[in-house]
Point group: C2
Chain length 224, copies 2
DNA sequence: CTCCTGTATTTTGTATACATTATACAACTC
DNA sequence: GAGTTGTATAATGTATACAAAATACAGGAG
């Protein structure tokens, strides 16, 4: 009996997860805007499912910080105030620092190569002028670091924090005068990790994250 | 018209939240043990509600890391491996450090007084030999610090991280030989914050958190 | 005895129905 | 006109019904 027919049974996803992913994407892409109401019946109709999986997906979005519910009124896409964003940025800067330090200790040769590839992909993506592509390449670079920490929880938390900024961050990437600095920072972080120089890598990473603060916050002010 | 009858309308809670709180408590207290199945029908019968709020509560527990669901099989109380606990501890140590630093900058006189009270309550609670009481006093002390950071997200995240350790931490508090050290550490943290000495306070806090590692991990080994 | 298979039962997944509350707006009062 | 009240409508909260999959286990084949 061949063991290669892996039986695509693992591709089953409950509708709640499909709905969750769909709504999550829509929120991150900005198709569902901060403050926009998430009405069960309407969403159910649009997605062709019943209210039950919609409700469960909303509960999940809620815990991810992407939606907010008021009892008996319903859910809406979470709005972030400038203060919220500051709070998130401080946490993210700290945890990203931690991630880099852990990566310095734990990264394997293979993961280092992966990180190197991600760094190059990012530099190449910049030529393309395609914001989505650049954003994705940036995400991949950071994910490569998270992966190298070997700390699953940290990976999850950092992905989640990034997600909350993501909606507002695209704007930051439109300003291509920042690209050279981004490239330099990625390079420095990469070098720091390769040479296992924790304080160098962590320092650059912290700056790298906090550099986004001004741009992201001004984007929030526009929203209001 | 008197404005003191605040109309207890704000005490309305959807059943999903009641169920969520109930299950959460049960898990933290150890009444629902790691690995124990959470069967909807059974829980619904026991709590006297229908499956719908149960399901929504389970989705919430899931995102808090207290439950794990396998599609079409159902949910169970999350088990933590030693590795999971290490991962959580590292994150918590880092964020608790951050919290203390932020508190050094932002704490008000009133909050300082509150922290002082919490610290004393903790010392008093130790005399009582009542583990629950001691645990609660410890929680209150740390909460007072979280409060002082003024960072709402950080408060939420730290509460959540603590929650995940809580189940395994009671054991740690049964060993009263540790009490003097705990008291000293609380005192040092308190002093550090009062004198706005970030590096002192942060350093002690980090140690304070990591000190629990061995005890908590051995508790996990027992579970297996 | 071991392994397989078929079936009954339990459990989850999803849809729908009913109850209750919030919202919008028109008619009314002052 | 400002505010209030009543009513229709729409939304959420909760329960239940039905479908589909997982599980347990008895019985049979080898």
């Amino acid at each position: 009996m061949t063991d290669r027919l892996q039986l695509n049974m693992n591709e089953y996803l409950p509708l709640r997860d499909v709905v969750f992913n769909t709504l999550r994407e829509a929120i991150l892409k900005g198709e569902l805007k901060p403050g926009e109401r998430l009405m069960e019946l309407q969403l159910a109709a649009k997605l062709g499912v019943s209210r039950t999986p919609i409700r469960e997906a909303i509960r999940m979005l809620e815990q991810e910080g992407l939606a907010v519910t008021v009892p008996r009124k319903g859910a809406e896409v979470a709005k972030m105030t400038e203060k919220d964003m500051e709070d998130v940025l401080v946490i993210r800067a700290t945890l990203d620092e931690l991630a880099v330090e852990l990566a310095c200790d734990a990264i394997t040769e293979e993961q280092l190569a992966q990180l190197q590839r991600a760094r190059k992909d990012f530099e190449n993506s910049i030529q393309s002028k395609d914001i989505k592509k650049i954003a994705q390449a940036d995400v991949d670079f950071h994910d490569a670091i998270y992966q190298a920490t070997g700390n699953t929880r940290l990976m999850t938390m950092l992905s989640n924090l990034r997600e909350q900024m993501y909606r507002y961050r695209v704007e930051y990437l439109k300003d291509d005068s920042k690209y050279p600095e981004l490239v330099r920072e990625h390079q420095a972080i990469m070098e720091g990790i390769r040479s296992r120089d924790k304080s160098l890598a962590a320092g650059v990473m912290k700056r790298h994250v906090l550099n986004q603060a001004a741009a992201v916050k001004s984007r929030i002010r526009e929203q209001e």
